[in-house]
Structures are given as structure tokens and as C-alpha cells.
Amino acid sequence: MRAVSSARAPGTKLWDLPVRLVHWSFVALLPLLWWSAEEGRLDLHRTLGLVMLALVAFRLLWGLVGSETARFAVFLRGPRAVAAYVRGLRGCTHAPVVGHNPLGGWSVLALLGLLAVQVTLGLFAQDTDAVQSGPLNYRVSWDTAKALSAAHEVGFNLILGFTALHLAAIVWYRVVRRDDLVRPMLTGKRAFPAGVAVPKLAPLWRAGVCAALAGALAWWLSLGGPLPGEAPAAQDVPSAAEYM
């Protein structure tokens, strides 16, 4: 950091704004979701969970139609590429990858997949008395909801574990490889040896379309996911706060 930043070469843009916004939103939301659940602030937890769901949905869409470094088809590599990368890590041939490296790509998929499963479970989850519940809870039985709630708790522990692994990897790259992964995720840019292929960035309007789709999905789910011809879930049911 210090005065170096001004002297630094501008670098190559590798993380677009949507990827960074979503990433840092996850960082902010995860502790809030944890805290709101622990404190029994389940109204807040449900709202934040729907925001998380929209972000995950957006990121999954962006993984299909977004910038080159955001696309699953680009960063999910076969076992041979992963093995070669790991061998390179152990040796001295480590060179920074523009975008996710072959191992990190799978880590991204694992984290996103866990978040996707977790928000889906949350839609059906309920507290002890089914007083406070996810927006789709009313569509499943008590026993189903209980099982999914238990899975929702396991899911969080898995997310914690993978987050710890994610952070450990960042520290390892920083300390052992002298490779700062955090700064590029903030600025979107980092310096690469001359001649690297510059990733193709998707236009922002496309992110707008993905965001609108993801937001619509979360909004529809918040209404109980009414099917065509079905009325949305009634919102005038006695408020959960005054019940049980």
C-alpha cells in the first residue's frame, strides 16, 4: 500500500465490478446472517437471506454470460490442469494466473454451490415452533421443514469450514508465494508480465439484466413462489412476532 500505489503500473483489469461487488457483499452478509440467526432476529435473517439469494443467483447467471474471468466454462478446468497447477505450486514455477487458477476455480464453485444450497434450504426452514420461517415453509410439512432446518444448520458449518479454507489459501499465497490476492479483488487490477492475454469484460448493461432477473426471482420467492393462477401467499396472517 503506502506510496507504492501511485508508482505502480496500472495493471491489467481482471475482476469486473459485478464480481467484486458480489464478492464483498458476501463478506458483509455472511456475518450479518450468522448474527441475526444467533440473536433470533429472524425477520431480518429472512430479508438478508433473500438478498443473499439474489446475489448468488446473479453470480450464477454471471458465471454463464459475464466477463471471461467470471465464467464457469473458463475457470472450471479438468483434473489434469488442476494436477499440473498443484505440481507447479510445489515447485518454483508458480506464475500468477489471469483470473481463477485451476484449483481456485473449483473452490469458487464449492463456495457458490454451498451458498446456493444454503439459501435454498433457508427458504423452507423454520424455528422451533414454525413461528418464524422461510417464505416457502408453508408449502412443506412440519417434518420436512424440520429436516431442512437441520440441514440449514449443517450447511452453515460447511460454509464456515470452506470460508476458513478460502482465507487460509489467501494467507498462504500472501506469505509463501508473496502473491497478494486481496488487493486485485478490491481494485479489479493487478500487474502481469507483459504479453498476457487481457480478459474480455462483459458490458455492464448485461449485468443489469442479470441483476433484474435475480432480483425478480428473490421477490417472487418472498411472495411464497406463487405459481401461475395462484394467489401470492397472504401477508396479513397474524404477525409472527405476536405468535409463540
Partner: protein, 165 residues
């Protein structure tokens, strides 16, 4: 006169010291089991009763959330609630609390403030009866109001007498 201590028509009468020692072993054992089993049975039955009410409450509220509620389902749930509610007041005999050593969410306050607890349990009987009547009427607005009342009674009691989750 047949031998007093013969257990059957067998040849050898069972020896007295053996019988006494057998009896000495069994009596305290069964007595201990009886003491330990009673609170467990009570606690299990009451847990079951509360779960039943929870399920019924969920089924009822789920119907209220649906665009077109099924009144038959609402009535059945309200009947379950009205039938289960009167048990709550007598479901907490002395010895069935945390002192039983069993896992329970029942707070000692139930036994420390018995009059208040009895009043709250009585209130549940009243509000679930009212909900049952509302359900029978088929008037959705009335059902919603009564369900809210019954729900607040549940909450009122949980807030005071149940371990927070």
C-alpha cells in the same frame, strides 16, 4: 400340606435364603425404575403433546397463507389444538423439570410461579376453544383474529416458562 416355598410341582423346594436374596434384589430395583420412569413418561407425553400443537398450528397458519384456504384442514387443526390445550396445565408435575436430569426446555419458573403458570395454561384453553369456534364458523377474518390470539397465548407462555432458543 404342600411345601410352602415350592415354586412349582418340581421335586426340590427352592431354598428360603435364595428366595430372600432374590426378593432383596428385585424390590429395590423395580422401585428405582418406577421412580425414574414416571417423570420420563410424563415428559415424553408432554413433548409429544406440544409437538402435536406445533404441527397443528403450522398446518393452520399454512392454510391462512395460501390464496384459497381449505376450511376442513383449518377445522381439523383447530380441533387438535382445542383437544391438546387442556393437557398443558396438568402436564408439569413436580419432578418433571430440569431437576429430573433429563433434557428439557421447561424453566423452573413453572413451579416457582405456579399460579401464573396455571393462569397462562387456562388462557390457552380459552383461546384454542375460541379458535375452534371460529374455524367452525368458516369466517376467514374471524379465524385469522382467533389464530393470532391463540398464537399470542403460546408466545406469552413460552416467553416466561420456556428456555429461549
Amino acid at each position: 400340606m404342600p411345601p410352602l416355598l415350592s415354586l412349582s410341582t418340581g421335586e426340590k423346594p427352592v431354598k428360603l435364603p435364595l428366595l430372600i436374596s432374590l426378593a432383596a434384589l428385585t424390590v429395590p430395583a423395580t422401585a428405582m425404575v418406577a421412580v425414574a420412569a414416571a417423570p420420563v413418561a410424563v415428559m415424553k407425553a408432554r413433548h409429544h403433546n406440544f409437538e402435536n400443537m406445533g404441527r397443528a398450528m403450522k398446518v393452520l397458519f399454512d392454510q391462512l397463507r395460501k390464496g384459497a384456504p381449505n376450511f376442513k384442514v383449518i377445522q381439523a387443526s383447530a380441533n387438535t389444538l382445542a383437544a391438546s390445550a387442556p393437557r398443558v396445565g396438568s402436564d408439569f408435575p413436580k419432578g418433571s423439570g430440569p431437576e429430573s436430569g433429563r433434557k428439557t426446555d421447561a424453566l423452573p419458573a413453572i413451579w416457582e410461579r405456579q399460579a401464573e403458570f396455571a393462569k397462562a395454561a387456562g388462557q390457552l384453553v380459552v383461546t384454542t376453544k375460541a379458535l375452534q369456534a371460529a374455524a367452525a364458523s368458516g369466517d376467514l377474518a374471524r379465524i385469522k383474529a382467533a389464530a393470532g390470539q391463540a398464537g399470542s397465548t403460546c408466545k406469552g407462555c413460552h416467553d416466561q416458562f420456556r428456555k429461549p432458543h
